[in-house]
Amino acid sequence: MMLFLEWIKQPWPWYVAGPLIGLTVPLLLIIGNKSFGISSSLRHVCAACFAGNIPFFKYNWKKETWNLFFAGGVLLGGAIAAIWLSNAQPVVVNPKLVNELQRYGVHNYSNLVPVDLFNWPSLLTLRGLILMVAGGFLVGFGTRYAGGCTSGHAIMGLSNLQWPSLIATCCFMIGGFITANLILPVVLQL
């Protein structure tokens, strides 16, 4: 039992985590005919709170509250994992990345989020503003424009062999490759 607890507190390998994430697809279908996806929760928040006169937000969001429960669960799950299922080890990444990030003053690997970049005081810097605020805006705008995110397209859509989801997933990766390799280095220098 102790050994199991020790093991569970370590980072889980991909061949454990991946299939568990994949099983979310049949789980949601079987417990209530729900197609897996998370970015829609952002749309439901808009529909519930700031619909105004915008047709895109005028629909029966109450029928989709299950998605908000799911999102709330993800938040709680994050808390449970961080409080009870973690050892205090830093994130281990490729030494090449450590070398690169060192140049930008990123030394702290104790959290999943790099606390050197993502923290409240940084919000007042241009670098922090681009990373946290502009980045978040692109996540919200882009996922809705694409009609889904990593969960809705890359996992649910591909699981159902939908070729539009394959196109979307490829575009996620292309956008990410360009930004991480060409744009992010400029932003981190700010």
Binding site: W14, G18, P19, I21, G22, T24, V25, L29, I30, G32, N33, S35, G37, S39, I54, F56, Y59, E64, V74, L76, G78, A79, I80, A81, V93, L101, N111, L112, V113, F118, M132, G136, L138, V139, F141, G142, T143, R144, Y145, A146, G148, C149, T150, H153, A154, I155, N160, Q162, P164, S165, I167, A168, C170, C171, F172, G176, T179, A180, I183, V187
Partner: protein, 175 residues
């Protein structure tokens, strides 16, 4: 595109058509169930989300560092997670279709095809950029806030703002 048709139609159809649009352009994460349940039936989705959130944290796929590794081809981890998740999903849906599995309430499981529109390209590229900057997609944003990274609340609010602006500009954007 449906939005243009809407403007020429009477008010009642407007609402119906928008609901239709939730499905046609945005078939992601739609409630296919036709049964009405009291709110506390939704608590099971809270539990499902909770399990999903634990896996996101424990596999570190919500880590900005891991996302940077992925986009620099410096680690197999993210590809392994997403790849094996997709394979598991494909097998699951194949089994559901083959054995005509029903929901726990006895409803047949409904899956809708996704239609192609150019938004998947433009929006996909923009989201990819946001993913590389924040190191998070929408699910991880919630999970990260749960782990105590409180500043990510700002990123989540910004994502909600981005969604709203998309809804506002939608008819002017190419699809």
């Amino acid at each position: 595109m449906e939005t243009r048709d809407i403007s020429t139609q009477p008010v009642i159809l407007k609402e119906t058509n928008t609901d239709f649009e939730v499905r046609s352009l945005d078939t992601i994460c739609i409630n296919e169930s036709h049964i009405q349940h009291p709110w506390w039936y939704s608590l099971k989705y809270l539990v499902a989300g909770l399990l999903f959130g634990i896996v996101l944290v424990k596999s570190q796929v919500i880590s900005w560092f891991r996302i940077q590794e992925m986009f620099r081809l410096q680690s197999f981890h993210m590809y392994g997670v997403i790849g094996s998740a997709v394979v598991t999903g494909i097998i699951s849906i194949w089994l559901i279709k083959k054995f005509k599995v029903k929901t726990i309430y006895g409803e047949p499981i409904e899956l809708h095809p996704k239609q192609f529109n150019k938004g998947q390209i433009y929006g996909g590229l923009l989201f990819g950029a946001g993913w590389a900057l924040t190191g998070a997609c929408p699910g991880p944003l919630y999970a990260l806030i749960g782990t105590g990274a409180t500043v990510i609340i700002v990123t989540l609010l910004s994502a909600i703002a981005g969604t709203w602006v998309y809804g506002r500009l939608r008819e002017k954007l190419p699809h």
